[in-house]
C-alpha cells in the first residue's frame, strides 16, 4: 500500500468493517460476525505497523501527510498526519481494538454485530482524532466518538447503565461545545481550520486565556481532571468490560492529547499563566483521588479512580514545561493504556465467572486460578509503578522532571508511588490471597486460551516498554523538543 494512504486506511478500514457488520447485523451466526470483526481489527492494526516502521524520528514535521479539500466554503481540509506525539497512539488504538474484540468474544451474546461494529467504528474515529491536522476534522472525530461509546455503555452495560451513559455523554458534550466556540473563534481569526496556522497565530493574552479555558473545558473533562472526573467512575463501573478498556486505554488520552495539540501550542502564554492551576488540580488528583481509590470496595471503581490519579500525573508532566516531564507524561499515557486496559480485562475475567465486582466477594482466588492470579499480580504491580514494567518508566520520568521544576511538586507527585502501591496491592491481596472465601470462588475455572492470549499480549508490551523504553522515547523526543521550543516563545500580539 502506498504509504501516503496509511492513515486513511487506519481510520476507514475499521469503520468500513463496522458498517459491514451493522448491515449483516443479526444474532443468527455470531461466529461469522466475530470472525469478521477480528479480521477487521487485525487489518486495522496491521496497517498501523508500517506507520511506526517508516516513521522518521529525526524530524518534528508531520509525516504520512494527506491533504484534500473537504468543505471548500469553510476552508476545511481532510488533512491527516502524525508526528512523534501522536504516532504511538495510532498504534495503541488499533492494538487495543484487537484486544477488545477478543475480550468480547464469548462474553457478548446479544447484538454481537452491533457490539463489534461499535468498537470498530470507535477505533477508526479515535485514530482520526489522533491524526487530524484540521481543527474541524479533529472536532468531528472527537465528538463522533461519543455516539458509539454512549451506545456501548447504554446497551451492554450494568444495572445503572442509563445514568452512566447520560452522564458520560452530557459531561463530555458540555466541555466540547465550549471548545467548538473557541474553534470557531480561532477559525475566524486565522482564516483557516489548519491547526498549524492556529499554532502560528498571534493572540492577545486575554484571547489566549479565554481560548485556553474553553479548550480546557473539553480536555479536562475528557482526561478527566479533578473535580470534573465524576463521570468516569460511573462510566467505568457500568460499561461492559470492552467499554471500560477502551475508555481507560484510549478515550482518556484524547483529552490529554488535546492539551498537547491545542492548548499548549495555541495558547502558550496562557498555559504558562495558568500552569499553577493545572498543576494544582493534577496534584489534587494524584493525592486525593489516590486516597479515594484506597477505600473503594468495587474493583472497577478502584481502577477507575486509579486512572484519574494516573492521568493527573500526565497533566502534571505536561505543565512543567520540561522535556523529561512531557516525555514521561506521554510514556505514562501509553503505558496506562496497556496497564489499566489489562486490569479491566482481569476484572472482566472475574466478573464473567462470578458476576460480582465487589472485592469482599472474593478471596483466595490464587488457589483456584493460579494463571490468572499471576497476570493479575503482574498488572497490579505495574499499576503501582514497579520497575521493569512500563508503569515505572513514565512515573519516574515525570518525577525527575518535577524535581527540576519544583522539589515540593516532586514530593507530592511521589506520593503516588506509595498510594498506587497501597491501593493496587491491597486490592490484590484481598482478592487473590488468603483462604478460599466461599464456594463460588472454589468453583472458579482458570483462564481459557482466549483470555490467556489477550492478557499475555498486554503483559508482553508492558514488560517490553518497562525494560526497553528507548524505542518509544526515541520516536517522541524530537516532537516534544519542538513543542517545548514553540511553547517557550511568547506569541502575544
Amino acid at each position: 500500500m502506498d504509504s501516503n494512504d496509511l492513515l486513511s486506511a487506519a481510520i476507514w478500514i475499521p469503520i468500513a468493517f463496522g458498517l459491514v457488520l451493522l448491515a449483516l447485523g443479526n444474532d443468527r451466526s455470531p461466529g461469522v460476525i466475530r470472525g469478521i470483526a477480528l479480521v477487521g481489527a487485525l487489518i486495522g492494526f496491521l496497517v498501523t505497523l508500517p506507520i511506526v516502521a517508516r516513521f522518521d524520528p529525526s524530524t518534528a514535521e508531520m509525516q504520512f501527510v494527506e491533504r484534500r479539500v473537504w468543505i471548500d466554503l469553510l476552508d476545511a481540509y481532510y488533512h491527516l498526519g502524525v508526528d512523534g506525539i501522536s504516532v504511538w497512539f495510532v498504534v495503541l488504538t488499533a492494538f487495543i481494538t484487537v484486544i477488545v474484540v477478543i475480550a468480547g468474544w464469548e462474553v457478548i451474546e446479544e447484538n454481537v454485530a452491533a457490539y463489534m461494529a461499535s468498537f470498530l467504528m470507535l477505533s477508526g474515529l479515535m485514530v482520526g482524532v489522533f491524526t487530524a491536522m484540521d481543527g474541524l476534522l479533529f472536532y468531528v472525530f472527537f465528538e463522533a466518538t461519543l455516539i458509539p461509546m454512549y451506545v456501548i455503555i447504554g446497551v451492554w452495560g450494568g444495572p445503572r447503565r442509563v445514568y452512566a451513559a447520560f452522564k458520560f455523554f452530557l459531561y463530555t458534550l458540555a466541555g466540547s461545545l465550549l471548545t467548538l466556540v473557541a474553534l470557531i473563534y480561532l477559525y475566524l481569526s486565522a482564516g483557516s481550520f489548519a491547526i498549524a496556522d492556529w499554532h502560528a497565530l498571534p493572540l492577545t493574552m486575554q484571547e489566549q486565556l479565554l481560548i485556553f479555558l474553553a479548550l480546557f473545558a473539553a480536555f479536562a473533562v475528557k482526561v478527566p481532571m479533578w473535580p470534573v472526573h465524576t463521570w468516569l467512575p460511573d462510566a467505568h463501573v457500568e460499561a461492559p468490560t470492552g467499554g471500560s478498556v477502551v475508555l481507560a486505554a484510549i478515550m482518556l488520552k484524547l483529552g490529554a492529547y488535546g492539551f498537547l495539540r491545542f492548548s499548549l501550542p495555541i495558547a502558550p502564554d496562557a498555559s504558562h499563566e495558568l500552569g499553577w492551576l493545572v498543576i494544582g488540580l493534577s496534584l489534587t488528583a494524584v493525592v486525593y483521588i489516590g486516597l479515594v481509590a484506597l477505600v473503594q470496595s468495587d474493583m472497577k471503581k478502584l481502577v477507575a479512580y486509579s486512572s484519574v490519579a494516573h492521568m493527573g500525573f500526565v497533566t502534571l508532566g505536561f505543565f512543567m514545561f520540561n522535556n523529561l516531564g512531557m516525555q514521561g507524561a506521554i510514556i505514562q499515557m501509553i503505558s496506562h493504556g496497556f496497564i489499566s486496559g489489562a486490569l479491566f480485562l482481569c476484572i472482566g475475567v472475574l466478573y464473567d465467572r462470578m458476576h460480582s465486582r465487589d472485592i469482599g466477594a472474593y478471596g483466595g482466588v490464587v488457589n483456584t486460578m493460579p494463571k490468572f492470579a499471576a497476570f493479575f499480580l503482574f498488572f497490579s504491580m505495574a499499576n503501582a509503578g514497579l520497575p521493569a514494567t512500563s508503569g515505572f518508566v513514565g512515573e519516574f520520568m515525570v518525577i525527575l522532571g518535577a524535581v527540576s521544576f519544583n522539589p515540593w511538586t516532586a514530593f507530592a507527585a511521589a506520593v503516588t508511588m506509595v498510594l498506587g502501591a497501597a491501593y493496587s496491592l491491597w486490592m490484590y491481596k484481598r482478592v487473590a490471597f488468603g483462604p478460599v472465601a466461599n464456594a463460588e470462588v472454589a468453583a472458579l475455572r482458570d483462564l481459557n486460551a482466549r483470555e490467556f492470549i489477550m492478557l499475555s499480549l498486554l503483559a508482553i508490551v508492558t514488560l517490553w516498554m518497562g525494560v526497553q523504553p528507548k524505542p518509544f522515547t526515541d520516536l517522541t523526543e524530537t516532537s516534544v523538543d519542538a513543542l517545548l521550543q514553540h511553547v517557550s516563545v511568547s506569541k502575544i500580539k
Binding site: L73, I147, L177, I184
Partner: protein
C-alpha cells in the same frame, strides 16, 4: 404592457394542471381503482420536479412585470419542497390507507399546498405573496381537518385554522402598512423607500406586524402556541406535510420580505429576530424536556430549531454592510434544508411505526426498537443526533455554520448561549435514543413498512450521515444561491 413570460411559470402551471387532473381522476375512478390516485399524484410531483430541474439550469428570470421571480434561491427551495412532498406522500401512504382519510382529497390538497409554497417562494409582490400564503395555508387547514370524526384532530385543525388566520391577518395588516408607506406592492419599490433618507416610523410599524406574521408561520416563540397542539393532534400523515414544506416557504417569505423588501430597516428587524431566536431556543428546548409525547416533543424541538434558523438572519448585516449576508442567510437556508430532511425522517418513521388501530405517539412506544427493527432504530439514531447537532451528522454543520455567522457578526455571547442551549437540548434527543436502545421492548411486533417507504426511509437516514461526512456541496449551493439572488436584485 407587462411581460407575462409564462415560461417562468411552467412548473407552477404544470402542477396546477396535474393537480386538477388528479382531482378529476379521483372523481371518475371506481372505488377499487382509487389507489391509482396515489400513484398519479406521485408522478405529478416527479413531473413538476423535472420541470423545476429543467428551469434551474436556465438563467434567473421574472414574470408578470417582476412580481414573480425565478432565481437560484427559488430553484433550490422549490426543488426541496417538491422532493419533501414526494417523500412525505410515500411515508403517509399506508398510514392513510389504514385510517379513514379520504385518499384522493389528501393527495390533491397536498399538491395544492405545494403550489401555494411554490408561489410564495417566487413571489416578489405583496399580493402574489399573500395569494401563495393563503393557498398553502387553506390547503394545510383542510389537511389537518381531514379526520373529522377524530376529536383531537378536529381540535388541532380548529386551533391551526384560527391561529393561522390570525397570523395571516397580522401579515396582511403589515402589508397594508408597507403599501401605505411606499405606495407600491412590489418589493423592489418598497426596498427603495426603505433605503431612502426619511422618517421610517410607518414602515417599522408595518414591519412589526410582518415579523409577527412570519414568526407565526415559522412557529417561533412567542407566536408558537399552535405548533405543539397541531403537531400532536393532526394525523401523522398531515403532520409530515405541515412540518416540512411550509418551513421552506416561510423561509423564502422571510428572505423576500425582510432582506429584499426592507433592507433599509435591517437593524430593526435584526433585533426583533434576535429576540425571537433567543426566546425560541430557550423555551423550545426547556419545554421539550418535559414532553412524553413524541410528536409534541418534536414540535418543541422544532421551535428550538427555528431559533437557529432565525439566528442566521440576524447575522447578515454587520456595521452597515451586507458583505457577510450570503454566508449568514446561506447558513439559515442550509439549516432549514437539513431541518426539513431530518423532520421528514422523524415524522416519517412515526408514520411507518403506526399500524391500524395503533398510533406511535408516545416516546415509550419506541421502546426496544433496536431489537424489533435494528435498521429503523439506526435511522432514528442518526436523525436524533442530527437534531442534537452531534457530528458526523448533517445537523452539526448546520449549527456550526450558523454559529460561525453569528460569531462573525460579533454576537459571541449569543453563540455561547445557543451552544449551551443545544447542550440542554441534547438531553431529550438522547432520551429517545435511550428508549430505543437501552430499554427492553414492550411489544415484540416488528414494524414492517412497505418496500418503497422502507427504501426512502433508508435513503433519508443515509442522507443525514452522508451529508454529515461531506456537507461541502450542499453548503456551497446554499451560499451561492443566496449570493446569486442578492446580485440579481
Amino acid at each position: 404592457m407587462p411581460d407575462f413570460n409564462l415560461i417562468a411559470l411552467v412548473p407552477e402551471i404544470l402542477l396546477l394542471m396535474l393537480a386538477c387532473g388528479v382531482l378529476l381522476a379521483d372523481a371518475m375512478l371506481r372505488k377499487e381503482d382509487r389507489h391509482w390516485v396515489e400513484t398519479l399524484s406521485l408522478i405529478s410531483v416527479l413531473v413538476v420536479l423535472g420541470a423545476l430541474l429543467w428551469q434551474a439550469g436556465g438563467p434567473a428570470q421574472t414574470a408578470f412585470g417582476g412580481t414573480f421571480v425565478v432565481d437560484a434561491l427559488a430553484a433550490v427551495l422549490k426543488i426541496t419542497a417538491a422532493l419533501a412532498l414526494f417523500v412525505a406522500l410515500i411515508y403517509a401512504r399506508r398510514y392513510n390507507t389504514e385510517r379513514p382519510v379520504p385518499r384522493g382529497e389528501f393527495q390533491v390538497i397536498a399538491l395544492f399546498a405545494l403550489l401555494g409554497q411554490m408561489v410564495m417562494i417566487s413571489a416578489a409582490n405583496l399580493l402574489v405573496m399573500y395569494l401563495g400564503l393563503e393557498l398553502m395555508s387553506l390547503s394545510l387547514y383542510a389537511l389537518a381537518a381531514m379526520r373529522r370524526d377524530d376529536r383531537s384532530a378536529s381540535e388541532a385543525a380548529m386551533k391551526y385554522f384560527v391561529l393561522g388566520a390570525l397570523a395571516s391577518g397580522f401579515m396582511l395588516y403589515g402589508m397594508s402598512m408597507l403599501y401605505g408607506a411606499s405606495g407600491s406592492l412590489d418589493l423592489s419599490d418598497i426596498a427603495l423607500v426603505s433605503r431612502a433618507e426619511q422618517d421610517k416610523t410607518f414602515l417599522v410599524f408595518g414591519l412589526v406586524f410582518i415579523v409577527g406574521g412570519l414568526a407565526f408561520k415559522f412557529g417561533a416563540v412567542p407566536f408558537h402556541m399552535w405548533v405543539p397542539d397541531v403537531y400532536q393532534g393532526t394525523p401523522t400523515g398531515a403532520t409530515l406535510l405541515i412540518a416540512t414544506g411550509p418551513k421552506l416557504a416561510s423561509f423564502a417569505l422571510a428572505y423576500r420580505l425582510l432582506v429584499e423588501g426592507l433592507p433599509g430597516v435591517v437593524l430593526d428587524w435584526q433585533h426583533m429576530m434576535l429576540i425571537l431566536a433567543g426566546l425560541s431556543l430557550a423555551f423550545g428546548i426547556l419545554i421539550a424536556i418535559a414532553q412524553t409525547n413524541l410528536k409534541r416533543m418534536l414540535a418543541y424541538s422544532g421551535i428550538a430549531q427555528v431559533g437557529f434558523v432565525l439566528l442566521g438572519l440576524i447575522a447578515g448585516m454587520v456595521d452597515g454592510s451586507f458583505q457577510l449576508a450570503p454566508l449568514a442567510y446561506g447558513a439559515s437556508m442550509f439549516y432549514i434544508l437539513t431541518y426539513v430532511l431530518t423532520t421528514l425522517g422523524t415524522f416519517g418513521l412515526i408514520a411507518l411505526m403506526a399500524r391500524s388501530g395503533f398510533e406511535c405517539e408516545q416516546i415509550e412506544d419506541l421502546k426496544g426498537l433496536h431489537r424489533r427493527s435494528p435498521w429503523m432504530a439506526l435511522v432514528m439514531l442518526a436523525l436524533m443526533f442530527s437534531l442534537a447537532g452531534v457530528p458526523p451528522t448533517v445537523g452539526f454543520y448546520a449549527k456550526l455554520i450558523v454559529l460561525e455567522a453569528v460569531v462573525l457578526a460579533g454576537y459571541l455571547w449569543v453563540a455561547v448561549f445557543a451552544v449551551m442551549m443545544s447542550l440542554v437540548g441534547a438531553f431529550y434527543y438522547l432520551r429517545v435514543v435511550k428508549t430505543m436502545y437501552f430499554d427492553g421492548p414492550v411489544d415484540l411486533s416488528t414494524p414492517e413498512p412497505a418496500t418503497d417507504a422502507r427504501l426512502v426511509l433508508g435513503i433519508n437516514g443515509a442522507a443525514v450521515l452522508v451529508l454529515g461526512v461531506l456537507p461541502g456541496p450542499l453548503l456551497t449551493l446554499c451560499v451561492e444561491a443566496i449570493q446569486l439572488s442578492m446580485v440579481a436584485r
